[in-house]
Point group: C2
Chain length 283, copies 2
Amino acid sequence: MKEDILYHFALGTGTHDFPALFGDVKFVCVGGSPSRMRAFIAYIAEELGLGSPGCDYPNICAGTDRYAMYKVGPVLSVSHGMGIPSISIMLHELIKLLYHAKCSNITIVRIGTSGGIGLEPGSVVITRQSVDATFKPQFEQVILGKTVIRSTNLDEQLAKELMECSKEIGQFNTVIGNTMCTLDFYEGQGRLDGAICLYNEEEKLQYLKEAYDSGVRNIEMESSVFAAMCNLSGVKAAVVCVTLLNRLEGDQISSSHDVLVEYQQRPQKLVGYFIKKSLGKME
Amino acid sequence: MKEDILYHFALGTGTHDFPALFGDVKFVCVGGSPSRMRAFIAYIAEELGLGSPGCDYPNICAGTDRYAMYKVGPVLSVSHGMGIPSISIMLHELIKLLYHAKCSNITIVRIGTSGGIGLEPGSVVITRQSVDATFKPQFEQVILGKTVIRSTNLDEQLAKELMECSKEIGQFNTVIGNTMCTLDFYEGQGRLDGAICLYNEEEKLQYLKEAYDSGVRNIEMESSVFAAMCNLSGVKAAVVCVTLLNRLEGDQISSSHDVLVEYQQRPQKLVGYFIKKSLGKME
């Protein structure tokens, strides 16, 4: 290919010097919300001693509103929107970006939000395996109309290292557990408060308890394709999500804005600490 | 339920007066990109004689960056991000919003972008049926781990009325055809330029030609769940997408920025004309 246009990033090899812009990247953090990923880059810059207070970080994907991307030193922070298709487009273009930039030894971590099962809200889950709605560790990719099954394994060693970091921080409850990845937020996750709902509370609770018994500790909407694509591309990957509520106790996310903001900082804090430690920057 | 929090809109029945805010809504236009949906509200305001030049429209969902929402008179304009899960969350909360606001006789139109098959780029496709990756007019919804098949029929009369509007405008090629809705942009649509690709050009072209022969004229990533949910909720719905390229001739979206911007205005122009006509506001 003469030129590669990463359409949803509004970047291209014909218009941007990828090795110069991204060649030093070692850690990529991804999350659903653009503003959260901007907050993360400011946080990690300060943690690594690379930022000045009040300094603003330009959005590298300013030419589009599909995704937002920020960089400081060896850390790239990218938003991916909500759901498997949205993160899948981002990952295709991100993996091509890292390839064109000749990056090596990349670690990529999704820092997100999720619904917990049987955990106190605000707990952080490091994903052991991402499982589908029937609790199987697999992702069904449709290719030219045919379904192909892909493995959703994540890096075991990386999960353990992250768990170790959480113990050293000692500020919030963290567990390693399975993460169920669904195709929607309401019916797919057994919520009773969607616009359409054809089951009752008993059926919902039975399903969530089966999930818990199979090892599932939280539910989100991106981890399976994230694990599958990182696997296939040989990139070391982890998923670290905070739980905003305990689904055994309700469906609505009704904690106050301030409480939710603090919860959402927990995966950032954990992954920030891990990056700092990996770079040998701990005091 | 005492209070209903529409979490991804950052709106709630306990904090917002839905009938006062949204009770007069008759047309809802939805599209992937927040900035496109903001541009649409400014356009339609001017068309309906409800706006003043240079007037800004506040984002009703300013408390979140998941979606953006704008309103002028009877028209609501909402972004939905990319992919089935992302639009499905938005639609659950939109349908609840319209219900709480006691709206009736709503028409909802998705105005989007797509890849065309066998059409000149810039052509507009009004969807007859939304079909899956095997060309069947159905959507598979996973509920509590079990797959349920839902119909993806759209309003025939509304499609015809939109086609009539396009003839009256007479500025761009418009067809009624089937729209294939996929779970991803690269492998699911037979692109050869993704980070992962396990098929060749011949297999790709064979698949796209089969799609064409079955009546498919464009490919996007939201129409199936949009049709299924509007069907189940009894809301009159249409899908109007412009094609940014002809997939029989390539995979990359390489037209200039200005050309793409003009293409993206075509569904807006068509649906704007339709709303104006429906309201009896044509000169």
